[in-house]
Symmetry: C2
Subunit: 206 residues, 2 copies
DNA sequence: GTCTATAAAGGGATAGAC
DNA sequence: GTCTATCCCTTTATAGAC
């Protein structure tokens, strides 16, 4: 078998796996893990049922791989926010916008999926810990941005961890609210950051 | 059969049904609808598997009944907030506290369950509309409280519907964050209402 | 009203042909 | 690498005895 041939085969493998992952993200994110059937995933990815098991050991295998990849991407987004913007306020504004952007396919399902994963109880202890660890790391990064914002005077005073929880809870709550189409609103980063931003003119002892 | 006897039988029916509903609320709320087995419910309620079908037509039947009842209870809580407190700010503070109170069993699972129901897609159109209708009614009630708070000058200006969505999203996001035990915090109504409360001293043109 | 046993269906996973 | 057919376990739902 020529090296050229191997390359081609590897390319096909990558494409098929990617198709399944993309389908899975949307389905897991909307229906949840338990309610999503293998056949739902393969149908959406336009593959046969059997082929699934050529690429993933099991439904849970795919699930865990997808979650961990998404967490890595999200952490990468935090990196990007810190690289591309100077002020902590601008960093969180940009992050918030990115999180809510991409009409469905992009950011939203991915974040919803992470939330569900953190909340689910069907994973083994080890896997769960790996996921929680990555998530915690992300929260800590937000926390540090908030601390720098407090020092610069852009953000209100208070326990940074608690403020991070309030901020992320609002972001995630809005994602869920917009995911179901009941009272969808255009999320604005400025409005999200209302609860974190310092109001000039009061207690300005900087 | 004496009337006394019928009463007794009815009482047993009510108790059994209630036990199943309570168990279902906790399980649906933590594991989700699809992942919850009938046997999970009957085990928790300490009943036999078969008895379930003596009280409910199906798993979905129980689910729908529970959701609709919970929505009625939540709307009743909004009524209570308006009866027992005068100022819109106090009303929302009280509601927020009540929602996050009751260490697990009480409020929290119930609200999480509602959120999941609004977001799920396995229900028939009619049932879904009934649920969404009740939920919308609740959101409108919050909206009206916000409008009154804007008139009284307690709340910031802006589209009341949008403000209601931000408020409820934060409340729900915090419920979810606290439900998984990753970074649990003591939710304070005052902090939740930071994003809604007017800051004295700026634009005070009342 | 309550239980155990069983039927019926659904869906995850595998086998084997192409 | 891909597909169809099938296995088999899990879970919903029913039957029938007590």
């Amino acid at each position: 078998m020529s090296p050229r041939k191997n390359e081609k085969i590897q390319e096909i493998r990558d494409i098929r796996q990617h198709e399944l992952k993309e389908a899975a993200i949307e389905l897991f994110g909307t229906k949840g893990y338990a309610a999503t059937k293998i056949s739902d995933i393969t149908n959406k990815a336009e593959q046969s049922h059997g082929l699934f098991y050529h690429y993933f050991k099991s439904k849970e295998d795919l699930y865990v791989k997808v979650i961990l990849e998404l967490l890595t991407v999200i952490i990468g987004t935090v990196d990007q926010a810190e690289e591309e913007h100077d002020s902590p306020l601008k960093q969180l504004e940009w992050l918030t916008e990115v999180t809510h952007s991409g009409s469905l396919r992009d950011g939203v399902h991915r974040h919803i999926l992470i939330m569900q994963a953190l909340y689910s109880d069907h994973l083994t202890q080890e896997v769960k810990e790996e996921i929680v660890g990555k998530y915690r790391f992300m929260v800590e990064r937000i926390e540090h941005i908030i601390i720098r914002g407090q020092i610069s005077g852009e953000f209100i005073e208070g326990d940074a961890e608690e403020l991070a929880v309030y901020h992320l809870s609002l972001v995630h709550g809005l994602l869920l609210t917009n995911a179901r189409k009941i009272s969808p609103i255009k999320v604005s980063a400025e409005k999200v950051l209302r609860q974190l931003k310092r109001h000039p003119g009061q207690g300005d002892d900087q």
